[in-house]
């Protein structure tokens, strides 16, 4: 049987995800509201990151197979996103003039954005209840 993703260690994980959902949303909101024209692509990616964190937070906080699938997709996307944006921002810093949550692999957030999806995937696997 699959175990819920939102209790035990999952409760702490959801708290961390919620923190990043709020942080990314607030950051993207300020960027889009005050200076969208300066770097529209970077700020829209910033908003995308925010949406991914929100979806991951809600999906991890809910129990059930559908939520688990959603969470797996969101957390996987998050990992791809932090690697892609992180690499782009290192190779081409001018494309990302302002920090997003995923810039430089999440350096501005103590690299938690880089580690978090790995922890999330580990937890989803751990609670899946399938034999490995």
């Amino acid at each position: 049987m699959a175990e819920p993703t939102n209790s035990g260690f999952g409760r702490v994980l959801v708290a961390v995800y919620a923190t990043f959902a709020v942080a990314a949303t607030a950051r993207a909101g300020v960027q889009l509201a005050t200076r969208l024209e300066q770097a529209p692509v970077a700020y829209l990616l910033s908003a995308l990151a925010a949406v991914v964190y929100i979806v991951a937070t809600v999906a991890l906080a809910r129990a059930g197979p559908a939520a688990r699938q959603t969470a797996t997709a969101a957390v996987t996307f998050e990992f791809v996103g932090v690697l892609a944006i992180g690499t782009l921002s290192v190779l081409n810093p001018t494309a990302f003039p302002d920090e997003t949550v995923w810039s430089d692999y999440g350096r501005g957030y103590a690299f938690i954005p880089l580690v978090l999806p790995l922890v999330g995937l580990y937890w989803l696997r751990r609670t899946a209840g399938t034999r490995r």
Partner: protein, 121 residues
């Protein structure tokens, strides 16, 4: 911004992060005294938000006003949200949630101070 109050909140939140971390390690429910301390810090954050709001109304302006208001708004919500989420699972993980909330709060107040110190002009 009142630096003394902000520093007290940062210090208190860091101490409480360590304390709840220890109780998480011990798998013990959060002692009442620690809960009271968390609620006191939450109250102090509320006072700070009111003080900052009054300063804003009186015309003081950090350069990044939107960012400042964002930090101010969410700093008030962090501990109550962590507290509510932690209560559902007292013991190791509830304490863990409180520790995350306290650490988050301390970072937010540091950022709040930084944003405030960069004034326009």
């Amino acid at each position: 911004m009142n630096d003394a109050l902000a520093n007290a909140i940062i210090g208190g939140a860091l101490v409480l992060a360590a304390v709840t971390g220890v109780f998480s390690y011990l798998r013990r429910p959060t002692p009442r005294l620690v809960v009271a301390a968390v609620l006191m810090v939450a109250a102090a954050v509320l006072v700070q938000a009111v003080v900052a709001a009054v300063l804003l109304i009186n015309g003081e302006r950090p350069q990044e006003l939107g960012t400042f208001i964002g930090y101010l708004f969410f700093s008030v919500l962090v501990l109550p949200a962590a507290f509510a989420w932690a209560r559902m699972e007292p013991g190791r993980w509830g304490n863990g949630v409180l520790a995350v909330g306290c650490l988050t709060l301390s970072v937010m107040i540091v950022r709040l101070q930084q944003v405030w110190d960069v004034t326009g002009g």
